[in-house]
Amino acid sequence: MISIELIWAVILAFAIFAYIVLDGFDLGIGIIYPFLTKKVDRDMAMNSVAPIWDGNETWLILGGGGLFAAFPLAYSIILPALYAPLTAMLIGLILRGVAFEFRWKSKSKKNIWDQAFILGSIIATLMQGIALGAFIQGIDVEGRAYAGGWWDWLSPFSVFVGFSLISGYALLGSTWLIMKTEGDLKQLAIKLSKKFATIMLFAIFIVSVWTPLLNPEYFIKWFSWPFMLYALPVPLLVFLTSITLFYALKKQHNIKPFLMTVFLFLLSFIGFLISIFPHIVPPSIDIWGAASPEKSLKFLLVGVVIFLPVILIYTSYTYWVFRGKVKLDDFQH
């Protein structure tokens, strides 16, 4: 059953998950930014992600580019269907991306680039969540093209997923800060993490109940025998992980809260994959129907096999160079 199409679906899932976690925590920094009121705190938070955000965002390009290369049909249906949220997401990413460089250049007290950073991060996150929700709901297809209107993405469900993702990224961001800072800022981050963890767990619960109701096929996977057996460990693990997370927050652990949050994201992501697999444009097109010819898949697979390990090595190296708690004076260029 292992086909090259399946391998590509796994690669793509890996890229998207890497993106969610990596850009998730630096978008999260932008979301919790309003809670950091002191200028030094803001500088610290910014510096904790400044050297790596660009690399994190590259996974988004790989997600899009990988979809284009391996499943061009899906790319050409999903992107028009999500036209408005994706465009808004791009605008958000522009606002926050340039803020990293611009905020050091503007000397006025009320730094408008701080505002741009917050606004951009929130827009980008909300839109990613909305896009995800709209995708789970399903996309109208006729022949080889998107057949819905340009408002189809908007629904109570998609908006709810959008706000859920905001709480999730905020949690990633605040637990990242716990790891990277000390003193008052760390205490603040712990307080924020507790809040956002509560909200996020609540959101996970609602989305998990709501999703199966959207589509009978999802329902069968989650609530019928024997499928249930495969799906059941996911909610159980979510439960265990959240207990560990709160315990680690209480004990003021440095790294554990972040790792537990990542694990929560992984479980939610697996839940999402269980729902949609083997579709790549739910509910009608599966990964085999959307895939490029074998020759294209093979050619780029060679590239992935060669480059991906190297990328992981030098990316880890960069994280290692900037490891440990951030200090302010390290960051002048």
């Binding site: 400044a50 050297p51 790596i52 660009d54 690399g55 965002e57 590259t58 988004l60 390009i61 790989l62 899009g64 580019g65 990988g66 979809l67 284009f68 290369a69 391996a70 061009p72 049909l73 790319y75 050409s76 249906i77 999903i78 992107l79 028009p80 036209y83 408005a84 465009t87 808004a88 791009l90 605008i91 990413l93 522009i94 991306g97 990293f100 460089e101 611009f102 250049k105 503007s106 000397k107 998107y146 057949a147 340009w150 490029s292 010819p293 020759k295 294209s296 050619f299 780029l300 590239g303 992935v304 480059f307 030098y314 960069t318 160079v321 900037f322 390290d330 960051f331 002048q332 260029h333």
Partner: protein, 465 residues
């Protein structure tokens, strides 16, 4: 009523033209930085380190803008050209995939160390990071130009039952006929563009302070060597590029040259006003026979005119006739500036000749103008096709409402002007700082904004007269 396709075309042209401004600068600047750091490690002279730090700040801002505008590009194909994406995905997708894997990750992965790591990783490793970023920009240009060239001169593919292009021979696809020319021409364009910016900033400070400004002089000298060597080569590369185009896209060349009627021994049209409606050039000023000589390398060679193609298969000469002349005109100006610098070096007046310094200062942006003019020539000349001869632009577009595209277009225009306007403003602010005083200014940025760079410059012109 404007329809969705025109809006989508305009949006693509707008975002890609904005995007290319930054790569045109960062491709060259990344290599300039690598050279500076290499020289510093090798010769241990302070001025190279000063300059490295000076330009690194500018690079950081320009690179950030290149990245965010580039992310927009990678989604344009799907959101606005979905039919195109479905059809060309199997061929172009993997090439862009290689770009991401070999170039974008490399740049992004080492950028952090390049910008913030000088005190953290040691000099040699830091130099390595700078080199990696520079190579990243090169690989990026390599792959994306291969993609673009394949759309101009598609080879090595077949078409399947659903109308998709499918790959037959990857080597033929990547090294398609127009690719080597386009790659060389674009890389040299990026180096020239950067060199002119560097020289312009140097000349500005030399004029302003009027002392023995070693760092400014180093910038001017390095940049002018680059210009003197590369500008003439660019003319030669452009000529070869044009001959290649004549072979594969003769209609484009006819439009560039302004030939409507086929002719043996065609003239070189210097000026005139193309009239697509009537199919002729009004107010033509031309040199007899030279056109044939340049394109066919014989006085009586035949050149096919636009009127040989049906009307709906012709590119609009009214645009590319002019964009082509703009690019070539700037190219010739660059050659002149390059030669002048050699002559002034011999005379020993390179830094003391004030009018020449002024010319240098004002020619800072001409590279960008030429780059955009060149791309407009290439891309508009490919019309009405996206994949030349095979897939029409009208058949490539996504099924999106005109209203939606119109709204996104307006949003892009507003954000781009605010964001990139601010970015350019900050870059100009940085230019205000004297490269010889960079360390002093490290934290205190010049109070006056970037506008004063221009105001100062204009003030200096007034003094001349």
């Amino acid at each position: 009523m404007i329809d969705a396709i025109d809006l989508a075309r305009f949006q693509f042209a707008f975002v890609v033209s904005f995007h290319i401004i930054f790569p045109a600068f960062t491709i060259g600047l990344a290599f300039y930085l690598a050279v500076l750091e290499g020289l510093w490690l090798w010769k241990k002279e302070q001025r190279y380190l000063d300059l490295f730090k000076y330009w690194l700040k500018i690079f950081a801002v320009a690179f950030a803008m290149g990245v965010v505008s580039g992310i927009v590009m990678s989604y344009q194909f799907g959101t606005n050209w979905s039919v195109f994406s479905d059809k060309t995905g199997p061929v172009l997708g993997p090439l862009m995939g290689y770009e991401i894997l070999s170039a974008f990750f490399l740049e992004a992965g080492f950028l952090g160390i390049m910008l913030f790591g000088l005190n953290k990783v040691g000099k040699k490793l830091h130099f390595f990071a700078t080199l990696m970023v520079a190579f990243g920009t090169f690989f990026s240009a390599f792959w994306i130009l291969s993609v673009n060239s394949w759309m101009h001169t598609p080879t090595g593919f077949d078409i399947n039952a659903t109308g998709q292009f499918i790959p037959l021979d990857w080597f033929e696809i990547i090294f398609n006929p127009s690719f080597p020319y386009r790659l060389i021409h674009m890389l040299m364009a990026a180096y020239l563009t950067t060199a002119f910016v560097v020289v312009s900033v140097g000349a500005f400070h030399l004029l302003k302070t009027n002392t023995s400004n070693t760092n400014s002089k180093t910038m001017i000298s390095m940049g002018l060597w680059m210009i003197a060597c590369i500008a003439p080569l660019q003319l030669i590369a452009g000529d070869f590029h044009g001959l290649n185009t004549l072979e594969y896209q003769p209609a484009k060349v006819a439009a560039m040259e302004g030939h409507y009627e086929s002719k043996k021994g065609a003239p070189l049209i210097l000026f005139g006003i193309p009239n697509d409606e009537e199919g002729r050039i009004d107010y033509e000023v031309s040199i007899p026979k030279l056109g044939s000589l340049i394109l066919t390398h014989s006085l009586d060679g035949e050149i096919r005119g636009l009127n040989e193609w049906p009307r709906d298969e012709r590119p609009p000469a009214e645009i590319i006739f002019w964009s082509f002349r703009l690019m070539v005109g700037i190219g010739l100006l660059m050659i002149a500036i390059g030669f002048a610098s050699l002559w002034m070096r011999v005379k020993g007046i390179l830094y003391s000749c004030r009018w020449y310094c002024r010319v240098l200062m004002f020619s800072g942006p001409i590279g960008f103008v030429a780059v955009i003019a060149g791309w407009v020539t290439t891309e508009v000349g490919r019309q009405p096709y996206t994949v030349y001869g095979l897939l029409k632009t009208v058949d490539s577009v996504a099924p999106i409402d005109a209203l939606a595209v119109g709204l996104s277009l307006i949003t892009f225009i507003i954000t781009y002007f605010i964001i990139f306007g601010s970015g350019v403003f900050y870059i100009f602010k940085q230019f205000q700082i004297d490269p010889d005083q960079n360390e002093k200014f490290n934290n205190v940025l010049a109070e006056r904004g970037g506008i004063s760079y221009i105001v100062n410059a204009l003030g200096r012109v007034k003094k001349t007269f």
